[in-house]
Symmetry: C2
Subunit: 343 residues, 2 copies
Amino acid sequence: MQITPPYLMFLGDVPDQLAAKTAHGIVDWRPEWCLGQMRLPGCGADLHLADMSIADAVAGGARTLVVGVANAGGVLPAHWSQSIVAALAAGMDVASGLHMRLGDNPAIAEAARQHGRSLFDVRHSSQRFDTGKGTKRPGLRLLTVGTDCSAGKKYTALALEREMRARGFDADFRATGQTGVFISGRGVAIDAVVADFISGAVEWIAPAADPGHWDLVEGQGSLFHPSFAGVTMGLLHGAQPDAFVVCHEPTRTTMRGVRHPLPSITDVIDLTIRCGRLTNPAITCTGISINTQALGEAEARAYLDRLAGEHGLPATDPVRFGVGSLVDRLAALYPQSTRKPKG
Amino acid sequence: MQITPPYLMFLGDVPDQLAAKTAHGIVDWRPEWCLGQMRLPGCGADLHLADMSIADAVAGGARTLVVGVANAGGVLPAHWSQSIVAALAAGMDVASGLHMRLGDNPAIAEAARQHGRSLFDVRHSSQRFDTGKGTKRPGLRLLTVGTDCSAGKKYTALALEREMRARGFDADFRATGQTGVFISGRGVAIDAVVADFISGAVEWIAPAADPGHWDLVEGQGSLFHPSFAGVTMGLLHGAQPDAFVVCHEPTRTTMRGVRHPLPSITDVIDLTIRCGRLTNPAITCTGISINTQALGEAEARAYLDRLAGEHGLPATDPVRFGVGSLVDRLAALYPQSTRKPKG
């Protein structure tokens, strides 16, 4: 799955910004890929991009119409499918994060066929993977793991990519969820893969690379989440990380969607190392990433200092204080990776 | 997925017994469900059942044609699909363990529709599951786990069902693999489920039950297998076992299909307890099941005695010595479960 930018961001007529969460994530991290937005009458979302028609966007070089919104009811509205068909007819591919498959709509399937364009359903994987082999691949890998779902794993990996690239590291974010796939133009929503192929799909997502190259692999779920730990386990084995960063949201009292208490950061470090050793005996925790939004600035600093002391690791809030301290640690532990290969 | 016995076992014209491995498993464990076999000219497999035509089988009460063979090439041969269509026309459902879906064959799909019959593709899951909740359900559950794939997990669970039922326990085998689904007429090939729903599917497979009822859940893979540990983890959390039995094949030096060494039985016990506590804090190991086929009788006994002493657990080879010692331990630990509810 390789989605080609630049993107025209299709918002349809969703009622509010929350329904366009995926689209906002794409614009936040890849503003240079987002040529404009297309909104239908009544749309309550706004990406603060130029409003464009399909003709404008194609003239400006747009290659893919991105449906980065959640629609109610799980059925593609007829007026949305008309826009999608028009984009295909105008020569764009279409990539969607909707629950339903684009190709299940006969008009869209026919238009894609007729105009020779590609349809990408980011939530679905039609790709065939091998089962994971667990063989150590060259290249360095960092995985973001969490005490829970939605604890900042994607954000942390993307912030690391930005900071590491700025410092001359050869580093690529590797997407394992739908928003991440749009942001990197590549990847697989790992929770949509058939269970037998979780680790194999991750081996495909983060393939063999130069010895000094970093893959920054977006984590999913938690080894301690009763709904999703299988996904997290397969992701850990497939990513075979050298380094991992633990992400945590300190005000949460139960795991998302269930009644289980959150594990401690120490629990997560210990179990990640214990299980991760299977495919990378050198696995080590290199930092802690905290969402301190609910804390005051002084309180946040004190909390991070305490965690750093307790664990002997850099601890930061990537939004508030950046990820410089996490990258300092990587530079110190993996000096071979700090210079980009020539050429 | 509920497959209705009795079965007519369709062997097509596969060249040898190995290609009919699934069919043999069904006959071994459910001879009373297997009315007869249907073979085409040149068939090299034989279940030692009465050879029957479709008309004979229907007259004898057969409800489902079971395609329990592996065919070469992944394409359904035309002479097989003719038999399948004929079975549907005669009023039977058809259940298949083939890689391809029955319904992808237009003639079969049309015949099923026309005659109002069901098609079961045991390797594929079209069923929608909820994500796992991890909430403790009433009823007792035992999971078979392994140091590796193909270490006797299905056999051990089925042998426990047979022995426990004979002793008056209220116990049901719960299938998580294709052969097991045919044997129990119900269940899900868990490795074919979308990754997000592994534990949720197992919660469906082994639902809430009477406090003294045992679900004997067929394990898959190993927490130490780099290809499949995600499946094993989700299965462990979904099954929330009270008891587990570790299955092991002592002559194996590397995990199946990869180059990783086998974990020790102690490793498996420790990690299973550590991870399994998430959904059942009372999880405990209640026995060890060994495939001693490669050992002489005296050697096997000595080996099992040594393991039993080392781990303080009953250790047996279910094929050679039965599972009586494993059931004795369950009767001692869970006395509330030894009598069937009245009625």
